[in-house]
Structures are given as C-alpha cells and as structure tokens.
C-alpha cells in the first residue's frame, strides 16, 4: 500500500536536508520528540539539530529569518503551524521575500518555501480552518503550490527551491493521513498521469485521456474529493469527467491546463476557499480569455460560502464546499447545453 501523504512529505524533507547542507528548516514546535503539530517534521531535528529549529511564536520573524538565510545564499523552509497564521508573515512575504527577487533591478535568488497546513473539515474553527491561497494570488515573484496525493513532495519542494523564487506550499490537513496514489492507478476505473513540461499537472481520466464531457480543475487538497465525485458522476449519471490537479496554482500553467479544457468545452473549478477573489476566478478569467470560442458553457466556480468557518461539524458542513456541490455543478454544466 502506498505511503500516507504526511509520510511522503516527511521523507521529502529528510531527503532535501540530506541533499543540501545549506538548507535550514524553521517553525514552531518542529523539533523532536514533538515533530510538528501535524508530525510532518518528525525525526528531522534528531538528524540535523543545527539546521532544524523550533522557534518562538513569531511567524513574521521566522519568515524574515528564513528570508535572511535565503538572501545570504542559503535555502530555507518554514513551517507555519496553521496557514491562518501566515497572515502574520504577510509583510515578509509580500514586501521582502517576493519583492527582493526583482526590486533591486536584477534577479536575486530567494530560495524559500513557506509550508502552510490548510483547510477545514477538522472542527478547528474560524481561525484554524481557512484556505488563504487567494490572499497570495498575483504577488509578483511569488509562486503558490499545493500538496496533492498525485505529486511526490520531494520533486515539488526541490523544484520550488530551484526556481530561486519564494513559494508557499499549501497542505490540506485532511490529506495528511490519506494515501498517495502510485503507478498511474487511482482505482479499477480511473487512471492518472502527470502532464506538462514539468509534469506539474496530474490528469485523472477514465478510458481515454483525450475524451471527457467535462473537466474538473481542483487544487491538491480537493483532489481525492474530486476523484470520488468523478466516480459517482460516471456510475450514477453516465458523465465522463476528467480531473486536473495542478501542483502549482500560481502562476497558472495555462499551456498545460487549457488544451484538455478546450477539448471538453466545459469546465468546473472547485476549491475550498470562501467566496470572493478566489483562485478559481483568476483561472476562469484565463479560460474565458483564451478559449471563449471553444467553450460550450461558461466556467463554473465552486467554493465555500461567504462566511466564517464554524467549529461544530454540522455547521462547518454548511459553509465548506461539499462533494454534492461539486457533483451538482458538473451535472448542471453538462446538462445545460
């Protein structure tokens, strides 16, 4: 059986620290025996006590220190305990790390990744459940990635550091305990492969990768949910839905995402973010601009409600995007023409 996502991430960090003696990992409560709030950093500080540090509760300060290490030519990975708290590091990300790559009139490499455990469905309440990706969309010099069960995190993290641009890696908290997919197999019906020049986009299909009634684009945190919706659509509604999961959310890899969307002519973009100024809206803009003539329906967006995220499970469900919402959206888009 394939490893769990949290194990894959943990092994990725072990490998990166082993490969690069100039890499430092910083975060709150990341050292052993605790090993991080979600145990992603377990074992790292025992092997590299000097390069894996637990820090004070100072998200802005930690990301600043990491930016300083990167400025000095080193690499740094920061763990933010809950991605809600990355708000406290916004200045360092917006005004230092990302700007420094260009604002001095020449390219300055900043090898920095900020890891952000993200999302709801765990009953942690309004300030521990958010999906803050949208707040970082469109910052020059900053890339946004999201962990998925299809993308090996060693490749993703090494790739992010190699760009010399700072990046945020969002990690859906529910995903941690689920298993990675392996060998191109999702289940007895669905297959997957990684497409695009950097094998950045996971494509999940049934029967024929060139054929679909609708394309469903989701970030990694929704990948498993999207696959289960696609399965239901196939079995219950006879709708063939192809799922695309880009590892890099921003900048959008339009060249890889657009051809399958153009072929299907119908697309739904789903994400857990609350309404307003979403990643999906940006993606929809690109699709409308480049594929207007090829679309059989406008891009359909699915996201959580315009609301704080409640704690109690029965209330949380009324706000966060549900499988049924995605299912309904695809059905409406497919039957709408």
């Amino acid at each position: 059986m394939a490893e769990r996502v949290v194990e894959n991430l943990n092994q990725a960090l072990h490998a990166l620290l082993a490969d690069d003696p100039g890499l430092t990992l910083l975060g709150e409560d990341v050292v052993d025996p605790y090993g991080g709030a979600f145990k992603v950093t377990r074992g790292l500080s025992t092997r590299w006590p000097d390069r894996v540090r637990s820090t004070p509760l100072s998200e802005g300060g930690i990301v600043g220190v990491a930016g300083g290490l990167a400025l000095a030519g080193q690499s740094a990975i920061v763990e933010i305990m809950f991605s809600d708290f990355v708000a406290l590091a916004f200045d360092q990300i917006l005004n230092f790390a990302s700007k420094s790559t260009a604002m001095y009139g020449r390219r300055v490499p900043i090898r920095l990744v900020v890891r952000c455990p993200t999302g709801g469905n765990r009953g942690y309440g309004p300030t521990h459940s958010q999906s803050p990706q949208k707040h970082f969309v469109g910052i020059p010099g900053l890339s946004l990635h999201e962990v998925s069960p299809f993308h090996d995190n060693r490749t993703v993290l090494a790739g992010m550091l190699a760009t010399g641009r700072p990046g945020l890696l969002f990690e859906d908290k529910v995903l941690y305990t689920t298993r990675m997919y392996a060998d191109g197999v999702v289940d007895e019906l669905f297959r997957y492969d990684l497409i695009g020049p950097d094998a950045d986009v996971a494509r999940i299909w049934v029967d024929d990768p060139g054929q679909a009634d609708c394309v469903l684009v989701v970030p990694g945190g929704l990948a498993a949910r999207a696959v289960s919706v696609a399965r239901e659509l196939l079995l219950r509604d006879d709708i063939v839905c192809q799922v695309l999961v880009p590892s890099r959310l921003w900048p959008v890899d339009a060249d890889t995402l657009l051809p399958p969307i153009a072929r299907a002519g119908r697309v739904v973009v789903a994400e857990e973010s609350t309404a307003g100024g979403t990643w999906g809206a940006e993606l929809a803009h690109v699709v409308h601009q480049r594929l207007w003539g090829a679309l059989r329906a406008p891009v359909r967006l699915v996201h959580s409600a315009d609301s704080v995220i409640p704690t109690a499970a029965h209330l949380e469900r009324t706000v966060l995007v549900q499988d049924a919402d995605i299912h309904r959206a695809v059905k409406e888009v497919v039957s709408g023409d």
Partner: protein, 312 residues
Amino acid sequence: MTATRTEAPPTAPTRLADVDLDLLLLIRHFELSLLDMFGRGELHGTTHTCLGQEYVPVALRPLLTDGDFVFSNHRGHGHYLARFDDPHGLLAEVMGREGAVCHGVGGSQHILRDRYLSTGVQGESAPVAAGVALHLKRAEPGRLALVYLGDGTWGEGAVYEALNMAALWGLPLLLVVENNGIAQSTPTTAQLAGSIGGRARAFGVDHLRVTSTDTAVVRSALGPVLRRVRERCTPYVVELLTHRVGPHSKGDDNRRPDELAYAKAHDWYARYAEAYPEQFTAHDERQRAYVAQVVREVTGRPASRWAEADRG
C-alpha cells in the same frame, strides 16, 4: 546592562582626519543637493535626507569590514555613501539614470549592493538581518549583521521578534538606533513608552546610549561594541541620540522654531566649521564642488534601463 555617555554638547569637536571630514561633507552636500533638485522640480518621487546624522555611518565606517552585512532604511544615503563612496551610482539610482546601482528600480530607499541592503518597510529588515546573522555565525564567524533603525521603528513588532531570536540563538546582530527624537512628525515622547534601553534589557540584550555627535567620540564608543558582537557572537543595541536637522522628507517639517533651533545647535557641521575653519573651509568647498559636478554629470546621462532578464 545599559551604559550612558552624556558628554555635554561639545564646544570643541575633535579634529578629524581629512578622510572622515571629506565623507561627512560629501554626505552633507549630497543631501542638500537632493533637496535643491526637488525644489527645482528636477527629481521625481520622494527622498529622506540624513542632514545632521551624517556622523553615524562615518563613525562606523572603519569598524566594519566588507564581510559584514549592513541593512539600511528609508534614510539611507549616508549609510550607502559611507560604505561605497559612490555618489554617482546613488544619484543615478535616485534619478533613474544610467549607472544606477539598481537600474532605477529601487530608488532612494531600496538598494542592494554586495552585502548592503536597504528597504522601505520599517522594522522588516531586523528579522532578515537575524537570519543573515544566523548564517554568519555558522559559516563566517567574526562577521556581523548591522541594522540601522530609527526611534519610530521601535513601534514595529518585527524588531522584538528579531531581538528575541537573536538573544536566544546568540546571533551577531547589531542594532544601531538613530534616535533623532522625531518619527516623521510625531515626537518620540508621543510614540515610544519606556525607553529603548529598557526594551533591550527586557531581552537581556546589552545597550549603549551615545549622546555625542562627535565622529571620533562616537567611533571610540562603538569600537568595543562591535568587537564584543564579533567575539562573543551576541546581539547589541546601540542608541545614538542624534538630531534631524532637515525635514522628514521634502519640506514636511512642522517642528516649532525652538525645536528646530535645538536640532541645529547640535549640528556637527556649524560647530566643526567654527572649531577648525581652515581645514573645514577648504574641504567644504571641495566637496560642494565635487557634488555639483556629480549632479551635472549624472543629470546628463540617459535614462536607466531595466532589462527583461533582470525582472526577477
């Protein structure tokens, strides 16, 4: 612990070596020229001059090595000129002319050259410098990261997060506070509770307060501090009580006449002129003429270009 130096306003400043006097005067005339050019509408945007504070980076200059990192702020022209002796590159940066240090992208307050960096958000550099100091401690022991801060910067939480980590981790981080008694238009007494020394002490970080504006006195006070930061790998806060003789930016000065007179009375420039007229007059004339020539030369250059490959 906190130490205080309370020299009375010196009636007779120490006579300086020509090289120090030239640098003080270069910075003074550079800043005066910028204000002139703004007044004539020849400059675009904004600038913050360090008139009255020139002696701080001049005092520090021989105490720093090329291996040390210097983090400057919005009021950084003196810091830059003391490190690089490059008025052409700096003016070209401010004006967006060919030969600009950062191709005119950064302007007056965003400059990166070798191990010198300035940026425009208050306090943001302190944790960054702590990160650099962490690297220096591990890879280049004996070197330090210096951050210039103003008194107003102590309103920013980033400073305390950096101080905390620097103290916990034993980082060679030197905070140089140019306390000019006014944050843009707000007097320090209205924006800073307690004291900078008390705040440093709260983190167990040593603090030295220097009231002299005499380059030689300041330098001899700071020498042992920098040695200590290097040798013991420890943070330190140096607070220089200084005097902003000019406006915050360009003509935005609401201070009362008596407050302005007080700042002017502490200005090293007039006091030095009075104490050593012969040395002063010759060097003052030379630097004034030199800066005028820099202005003419740089003004005549074509606009800077930002190549596609340099855009990050």
